[in-house]
């Protein structure tokens, strides 16, 4: 009896046909026309209250006894974070935005049971004012090619069977049934896939160099230590579709001959850690990880390692040091990690997005994959579009889409009718790209030419209210805090750069500062030990290159054109417009404003702390700033 129960509970798949049988049985158990309700459980939607919406659905479903009738799931990130919490009702994929728990009964009654659409929850096109009922027609999604993110909205990341039903692990079976390791590497090489972590190194070549090294012990590593301000795509993939990363890693391990892998993920991503852990446990249970995977004789184990949140640990040699339990400091990479990596063994490290691309390439073939993208950069790239943009969210587009399409078509342009000023790509060490270069196609090589980089795919949009000197100051401040402090150029250089930028934004800039900063940038780019230091001056160099006039305004005229740097703003009251209502004087915390009732008021400049309270309080535009 116990044996029988054990057998029933044993989900281990012992052969490849068993996986196919499982897939077929899950699919045939489902009613093709069944109603599905998926609530986005990604980070953005959670922050906007998605968990309450999930609870409300569970309650309502229980109350109305609908559990058998509809398939309800909390999925990973759908990408359109601006409109969260997002709910999608299938099979026709009706898209509801900004859903609150109190909307849930109506969605159940009207849409799920009644088959009609709740109009007030639909997305309205800001240009045409049309209400758009279906997800695929929303302009934000319409222009994307969601190869990596597509399944995020379809599957519950905590249930391996949903991934399997969606075709998951079929790339692995393809590899295990008929592909030699060399063939796998050949396919990846032919696809033209380049590392998605920022460097853009050809993935196939990286795999090959690790394959040829003879060693019984090799490691496969996943870099999920995404730490760029404003970037969260790796997090969302690991949260929303962890098995796609696992499948890629298992294939990579097979290709290079490795039996142990590590996922290095930031501890600040608790949901990503949890979902990756669940995924590994389930894959073990189903015999997709561990010994004798699907009866093929191939063994591979995966372990999660939580990072302590140091930005520099995203750098490969620092990541390895951290994995080894040492201080997370980079080492010179004069010996490739394909030869001596983790614990001096050959190691293969790829970014989350790179791994997630692997099953896709194996399934659909290198020929298909290499048709997407540009000559030098193949496939799609996932960007996190944030900052001063209407449609904040995760965007996946083929390489080669222009920045303008991304920002103005998918991103929906700049909010509040403001004017676009710059887009910062590639994270803190990337560069700021101005308006006149927006027609540049986005790929690894083009962005580098502009003095920026692809990085991990962060994209921060800035408008006329952003001061570019202040932006440079912010990123240098960030990098100064994240520098490990090992080498002189990075530790001392960033500290001095930050000092100079601080001075400039406080109105104490000197004419020679630009030259000094350019010199420092050169010391960093040619002298620093690791990529963090070598690219750290990009924010300064690119802003000097494209926004020199703003630096000059700060240094020579002691003015901040964007009115961001406090010390450089002067507030005054236009006597002709002032009605003497006294609103400004009441708002002023230092009592710097005086004046008789119904008479023009005056600001005492000596007492003004430039907090902008009067400017915000005045209803007659009488308070001006310059």
């Amino acid at each position: 009896m116990v044996e029988q129960v054990k057998k029933l509970l044993d989900k281990r798949l012992k052969s490849i046909p068993e996986l196919e049988q499982l897939r077929q049985s899950i699919i045939s158990d489902r009613d093709a026309g069944r109603i599905t309700v998926s609530v986005c459980g990604g980070t953005g939607c959670r922050a906007l209250g998605a968990e309450d919406v999930v609870d409300a659905f569970s309650e309502e479903i229980e109350k109305k006894e609908l559990a058998v009738k509809i398939e309800f799931k909390e999925t990973g990130c759908h990408g359109f974070c601006e409109r969260g919490p997002v709910v999608v009702v299938g099979p026709q994929k009706i898209f509801y935005q900004h859903v609150k728990p109190e909307d849930v009964p109506e969605i159940i009654d009207v849409t799920v049971l009644g088959g009609k659409i709740v109009k007030r929850l639909l997305y309205t096109d800001p240009i045409t004012n049309d209400e758009i009922p279906y997800e695929a027609d929303v302009p934000f999604y319409k222009r994307q090619t969601r190869l990596i993110l597509g399944s995020n909205g379809e599957i519950d990341p905590t249930d391996i069977e949903q991934y399997v039903a969606a075709g998951g692990y079929s790339a692995l079976t393809k590899v295990l049934t008929g592909m030699s390791p060399e063939q796998v590497i050949g396919e990846i090489t032919k696809s033209g896939l380049r590392g998605r972590g920022g460097g853009g190194f050809p993935t196939g070549r990286k795999w090959q160099s690790c394959r040829v090294v003879k060693n019984d012990v090799k490691y496969v590593l996943c870099n999920a230590d995404e730490g760029d301000p404003g970037a969260y795509q790796d997090r969302s993939i690991l949260e929303g579709n962890p098995h796609s990363v696992l499948e890629g890693m298992i294939i990579g391990a097979y290709a290079i001959g490795s039996h142990q892998g590590y996922v290095y993920v930031r501890n600040e991503y608790p949901l990503a850690v949890e979902h990756a852990r669940t995924a590994i446990e389930q894959a073990m249970e189903y015999g997709l990880l561990g010994e004798n995977i699907l009866g093929s004789g191939f063994d591979f184990k995966l372990t999660i390692n939580k990072g302590g949140g140091a930005f520099v640990c995203g750098e490969s040699s620092a990541l390895i040091a951290s994995l080894e339990g040492k201080i997370g400091e980079p080492k010179a990479k004069y010996v490739h990690m394909a030869e001596r990596g983790l614990w001096d063994k050959p190691s293969l490290l790829n970014n989350v997005k790179t791994w997630a691309n692997v099953p896709l390439i194996i399934n659909k073939g290198a020929d298909w994959y290499s048709k997407i993208g540009t000559a030098g950069s193949k496939g799609t790239m996932v960007f996190s579009l944030v900052g001063k943009i209407n449609n904040t969210g995760l965007v996946e587009v083929p390489m080669g889409v222009t920045l303008r399409e991304m920002i103005f078509e998918i991103g929906g342009g700049i909010p509040n009718g403001k004017k676009f000023k710059a887009v910062q790509t590639g994270g803190p060490s990337g560069g700021c790209i101005p308006e006149y270069l927006l027609d540049t196609p986005v790929d690894f090589d083009e962005l580098t030419k502009l003095g920026s980089m692809m990085g991990s795919g962060g994209m921060i949009v800035m408008d006329e209210d952003n001061c570019m000197v202040d932006v440079a100051r912010y990123f240098i401040e960030f990098l100064k805090g994240e520098s490990c402090g090992k080498c002189t150029p990075c530790r001392e250089g960033l500290s001095k750069l930050s000092e100079i930028l601080d001075r400039i934004t406080h109105g104490q800039g000197r004419p020679e500062d630009l030259d000094t900063m350019t010199d420092l940038a050169e010391v960093l780019s040619s002298g620093a030990l690791c990529a963090l230091g070598r690219t750290a001056a990009n924010p300064v160099l690119s802003t000097i290159r494209y926004f020199k006039d703003e630096y000059m305004a700060h240094i020579i005229n002691k003015k901040c054109p964007a009115h961001v740097c406090r010390e450089l703003i002067t507030y005054s009251i236009d006597a002709e417009k002032c009605t003497g209502c006294g609103a400004c004087a009441r708002a002023c915390s230092t009592k710097a404003i005086s004046g008789e009732k119904k008479q023009p008021h005056v600001i005492n400049q000596g007492m003004c702390i430039k907090c902008s309270a009067c400017f915000d309080a005045c209803k007659f535009d009488a308070v001006t700033r310059s």
């Binding site: 140091a310 201080i327 080492k331 010179a332 004069y334 100064k480 805090g481 994240e482 520098s483 490990c484 402090g485 090992k486 080498c487 002189t488 150029p489 530790r491 001392e492 250089g493 960033l494 500290s495 001095k496 000092e499 100079i500 020679e512 000094t516 010199d519 420092l520 050169e522 010391v523 040619s526 002298g527 620093a528 030990l529």
Partner: protein, 240 residues
């Protein structure tokens, strides 16, 4: 015929090289041969006709670390088509490579690093000497009052040679400093008073004290002060 340089100073005809593992390469236009497995810095250190390569975090008895970056040279591995900067203390000599040790670009980079070091340690003799040699007049930045350049030699000597690890580099980035464990005021029993740290220190930031134990550079956040800060915070919190 290139000369085979034995331990940097003396040379023999390459045919008579006592070592089977000979690496031939070009340095500043000169064909040389040395025994393989050593770094560029080690190979060139005392080779006549090669300008001295400065280095502050290097010691022959300790594993190279690559932190001060002063020993940076330019190398080419494609026959001179493209050159790149590497730290010579870490990069091994390779057959056929081209090395440049004293170009304008290198001198400019070293000058930049020395300017940064001088801003950190304006009163340190060895830095002042380097500054003079490389033409750094006065740093364009605010000046610190350190003596320690965080090369880590003391820490590495204590760990690698003595096997004690009585001192370590603590904190990260701009807050990094050499300190006793847990910011203790005095070095405890872990320190055997061998003085190795003071011996290898390139700037004289560590000296030997009267009690036979080294005196470390003054730390920014002594442990006791953190304690005081924390208790102040607790007091403020309890008042609120």
């Amino acid at each position: 015929m290139p000369k085979y340089w034995v331990s940097g100073e003396t040379s023999v005809d390459v045919d008579n090289a006592p070592d089977a593992n000979v690496v031939h390469f070009n340095v500043d236009g000169k064909e040389v041969a040395v025994s393989g497995g050593q770094t560029i810095y080690e190979a060139l250190q005392r080779m006549p006709g090669i300008a001295e390569i400065p280095a502050l975090c290097y010691h022959p008895a300790i594993q190279p670390y690559g932190a001060c970056r002063l020993c940076t040279v330019e190398i080419s591995e494609d026959g001179g088509k493209s050159f790149r900067f590497v730290a010579s203390c870490l990069y091994e000599v390779k057959e056929g490579m081209l090395v440049k040790t004293n170009t304008d670009k290198i001198r400019k980079l070293r000058k930049g690093i020395i300017e940064l070091l001088l801003a950190r340690c304006p009163n340190t003799k060895i830095i002042q000497e380097l500054a003079e040699e490389y033409g750094v007049d006065k740093p364009r930045f605010s000046l610190g009052d350190h003596n320690c350049i965080l090369c880590g030699l003391c820490v590495r000597a204590c760990q690698e040679i003595i096997g004690k690890s009585a001192i370590s580099l603590v904190n990260r980035g701009i807050y990094k400093e050499v300190a006793a464990p847990f910011y203790a005021y005095e070095l405890g029993e872990g320190c055997i008073g061998c003085g190795d740290c003071a011996f290898v220190c390139p700037t004289g930031a560590i000296t030997m004290g009267g009690n036979g134990k080294p005196v470390l550079p003054k730390v920014k956040i002594p442990y006791a002060e953190i304690g005081a800060m924390m208790s102040r915070e607790t007091q403020t919190a309890s008042r609120e």
